[in-house]
Amino acid sequence: MDGASVRRRLVRDTRVRIALVVLAVIALSAILAPHIAPYDPKQQLDITHLNGQPPSLAHPFGTDPFSRDVLSRLIFGTRVSLAIALSAVAIAMTFGTLFGAIAGYVGGTVDAVLMRIVDAAFSIPTLLLLIVVIALWGDIGIVSLTLLIASIGWFTVSRLVRAETLVVRNADYVVAARALGMPGWRVLVRHVLPNVVAPAIIASTLAVGNVILLEAGLSFLGIGVRPPTPSWGSIIQDGSERVSDLWWLTVFPGLAILITVFACNALGDALRDALDSGQLLSSFDDAPLSS
């Protein structure tokens, strides 16, 4: 399979186009937050007259009980939620890929030990672990939260990559590299890694959605992003005690989460389809007539 044909297949996919446009809009609003947000997200505008106001022309998404503009908080919250999700996934993917590739390529005892670590990690209920760690740790910042989420996200990637590595390590081009006298680490970097990252990329795209949900869940429980910093989950938390009359505090960030997660999953699915069929097609396209 080659990059060009995968790209062509992706561009033709309607899901991909829609998902990319949605994600681009979300990413842009995160980047341009200070320029497009109508108010300061942390500023209490008028605590006596503007608390918990429903959507209006001046405040399209309403205000929260602290008289802050929900639209501005949502836009700035995009920054926080996306930053956490993307960096946590990037860290988890890098670490998981290296871990899985080393386990699969080296094999033997190293593989057994590394994979038992992953098995053990899999057996821990992650949300519970996060809650306990955060409870013990107390107040944690965004960086620590990101690292924590990353630390529970790499197992799946490492499993996928290991399985792929077991296939690739026996490919003739890997044997050829060893026959040429290439040192082991260089075979791993030049020949194995580039051919095993596809499943990691797919898993990561899908994981972005999950991490957004996880962060929202933690913030909703009040143990994620600390107030007054806005994130999608913490905005919902601000309105959680009066959901029935302050519905705009739940609905708008909820929609933001829904749309983003949906777009990430659609992109991940399309990527998987494109890469899978890419492999199938290339092995059929080029098959020799004989043999």
């Binding site: 399979m1 080659d2 490919a171 003739d172 081009y173 044997v175 050829a176 590299a177 060893r178 026959a179 040429l180 006298g181 290439m182 040192p183 030049r190 020949h191 580039p194 051919n195 290339s282 092995s283 396209d285 080029d286 098959a287 020799p288 007539l289 004989s290 043999s291």
Partner: protein, 345 residues
């Protein structure tokens, strides 16, 4: 006689069969079970046998791409199996391998220029512009246009990819190449081109080949000597003409009788072997071929005595306790190069 370039003695590769959750070793697959042969400089030794007889394992064990269980391999004065990692890396320059599958033998994410260049970089044979020039020379030498260097493997046909694999092996200037069924996966018309290329390279560079194959017509064309393998053992080893004209071992006779007749109308009797190849995890006692052997003198002794590979006539080695000379128990007319049938004459 000069010392051979490569000497293999009693090479054994057993794969353990692991079972149970603790991976207890419950048996051994005797893929290669004590083979010995020499390859001289600029010579082609063909290693033939049916699928699963251990010929590819033997080729890889010689290069230490898989670690042999025991035995010795001496190459150009070096004891290959006792070399340290660094010495082995340096020696790999001199011993290369070409693969059967032209599709899995090239990294799909590297341009063919980068693939051919790797050996130059590893052994610091050329750098920068000099390496570019060398890559173009190598591609040219194997019959590919030098401009192709920037293209990727999927843009090439099987035969062209095989040429890239050959260029990669040549990049480090080896004196010995294991050709692991290099043409088996190719169209017949392309096979001839690749075989001719290998022969040209041998002539120009004085290469020695261990040519692993199951297609006897290709072997007859390219080999100087032929070793026949069956179930991890070499059962016959002889110069190509001797082996094809006067096979001694009953297995070799059966193998040769299976070669399709090159001319229409030539009629040959097939020696049809009955039964399957026994499992190398549980090989027969004595002569490994005895359960399928059709030699008229076969008896219990064959099931008891392991036949040594003996020089039956000068240069012609065979492992059979019943057949001591190439006097055939099969009617000669049944064999390869048989007399044309009446239809033809």
């Amino acid at each position: 006689m000069s010392t051979p370039l490569l000497s293999v003695r009693d090479l054994v590769k057993h794969f353990p069969i692991k079972s149970g959750i603790f991976g207890k070793v419950s048996g051994q697959v005797r893929a290669v079970d004590g083979i010995s042969f020499d390859v001289n400089a600029a010579e082609t030794l063909a290693l033939v046998g049916e699928s699963g007889c251990g010929k590819s394992t033997a080729g890889r064990a010689i290069l230490r791409l898989i670690e042999p269980t025991s035995g010795s391999v001496s190459f150009d004065g070096h004891d290959v199996l006792t070399l340290g990692r660094e010495e082995l890396r340096r020696l790999r320059r001199k011993m290369q391998i070409i693969f059967q599958d032209p599709f899995s033998s090239l990294n799909p994410r590297m341009s063919i220029g980068a693939i051919v260049r790797e050996g130059l970089t590893i052994h610091k044979l050329a750098e920068g512009a000099a390496a570019d020039t060398r890559v173009r020379q190598l591609l040219d030498e194997v019959g590919l246009r030098p401009e192709y260097a920037s293209r990727y493997p999927h843009e090439f046909s099987g035969g062209q990819r095989q040429r890239v694999g050959i260029a990669r092996a040549l990049s480090v200037e080896p004196s010995f190449i294991v050709c692991d069924e290099p043409v088996s996966a190719l169209d017949v018309s392309v096979q001839a081109q690749v075989v001719n290329l290998l022969q040209d390279l041998q002539r120009d560079r004085g290469l020695a080949y261990l040519f692993i194959a199951h297609d006897l017509s290709v072997v007859e064309h390219i080999a100087d000597r032929v070793a026949v393998m069956y179930l991890g053992h070499i059962v016959e080893l002889a110069p190509v003409d001797m082996l094809f004209d006067m096979p001694i071992m009953p297995y070799t006779q059966a193998l040769l009788s299976a070669v399709p007749a090159p001319e229409p109308g030539v009629k040959r009797e097939r020696i049809l072997l009955t039964g399957d190849v026994p499992s190398p995890a549980n090989p027969p006692s004595g002569c490994v071929f005895h359960p399928r052997c059709q030699h008229p003198a076969k008896d219990e002794e064959c099931a008891r005595v392991v036949p040594p590979l003996e020089e039956k006539t000068p240069g012609h080695w065979a492992a059979c306790i019943k057949q001591n000379a190439p006097d055939f128990f099969i009617p000669r007319s049944a064999l390869h190069r048989s007399v044309p049938s009446p239809v033809n004459s």
